[in-house]
Symmetry: C2
Subunit: 234 residues, 2 copies
């Protein structure tokens, strides 16, 4: 665990929220992890540590394999978390090492290529922009659900938003499986979609390397924003 | 726990993924919750239940208050989950009952108004589209980080995506605090933003009612998509 010296506040324009209070004064932060005691949480300290406090984004992976059963268990857990109108637009494409991985690497930014080549599993996380085709089954008490998403632009926006919530759930699900995740936005989504999803409704949102941590898997934890920079009262 | 009869598959166009395998046959689902035993997860069954398996979206709330300490503990937990370039664009505006709640209700869809009026806390979850102002402090090893987000359109897109991941973390954080969440997309984001964030960089993404469950807090759990509808192999 490391500590950085205090830095000046990065923004000086005051509260971003009209009519919302904000503490004034110098913004402080620390990169140390908060103690798990004396917090009013129902989640056990071990689970807090596994999912949030000790979990880190990994940049190197060991050779230990990730099994299909582990991936299935992750989905079987995170599938219960909510989406608007139970839309569930997230699709997860598992890319193991071999020809498919080589194909994937062509679309990955240079700085992400080595770790993406070496991870046991890379998941392409994508939004199914035709999620509305499932609503008669997944939101059956509202027969008009599918036609409420007739507009292509609004439907793609809803697909991307809800799939992004599900990506949040999925990244924590990877940690729940005792694995580490390495999410990466550094790839060419258009060329990847053309190559992997040509003509289909899927739109890639994020790549995630998944495995057990290798040597030098993490950098120092970066600072998090303080309560009074994030939580306001109206 | 209820069981629905099997439904025909809602979509018949085959695999949405080019070059990706998909099991054929009738799509089955069940609304029953999967057993927590015999899964290869590191997270304890109690924590699985608290965050995912037993947790439900609530539509009614008791009078029991939600404290500032609980909200602070939720943020202090979920702040550690990852965002691209440590951008952390999520902002949380707490709306308690009173004048601010009345102001909020004007922007909420009719069907959501009663439960939004009665919840002890409503959180406006918003993306700070000026998150790049913090990057010199939160991503200090890359001095070009702020200027990489000079383009307003790309920056707003990044703000919305990363804030949406953080909303996923936050909703699970509410559950980690032993509270129930009621996320709602049914509100007028433009009029809400004009009223609460006029001229500022915040863009509202979701409202979330937070509290303890009241009477008749939930409907039957809706069906989740099967593994072979969501998880593919490239």
């Amino acid at each position: 665990m490391c500590r950085h010296p205090a830095w000046p506040a990065g923004r000086s324009k005051g509260s971003p929220v009209g009519g919302v209070t904000r503490e004034s004064g110098i913004v402080k932060y620390s990169t140390s992890v908060s103690p798990t005691v004396n917090t009013p949480l129902a989640l056990s300290p071990d689970a807090q540590d596994l999912l949030f406090r000790n979990a880190r984004t990994a940049n190197a992976f060991s050779d230990e394999p990730v099994t299909d059963d582990q991936i299935a268990a992750i989905y079987d857990l995170v599938k219960y978390a909510p989406t608007a109108m139970n839309a569930q637009p997230l699709r997860i494409v598992i890319v193991r090492q071999g020809a498919a991985r080589e194909r994937l690497l062509k679309h990955v930014a240079d700085g992400n290529r080595d770790k993406t080549a070496n991870a046991p599993v890379v998941a392409i996380l994508a939004a199914d922009t035709d999620f509305h085709e499932n609503l008669a089954r997944t939101f059956p008490h509202f027969p008009g659900a599918k036609s409420a998403f007739a507009d292509d632009v609004a439907r793609e926006q809803a697909a991307r938003f809800n799939a992004s919530l599900q990506i949040g759930y999925f990244l924590l699900g990877v940690r729940a499986a005792g694995l580490v995740a390495g999410p990466m936005g550094g790839f060419d989504a258009n060329s990847l979609d053309d190559d992997f999803f040509a003509g289909g409704p899927l739109k890639s949102l994020l790549l995630v390397n998944i495995g057990k941590p290798g040597e030098n898997a993490w950098y120092d934890r970066l600072p998090r924003l303080e309560q009074d920079e994030v939580v306001f009262t109206a």
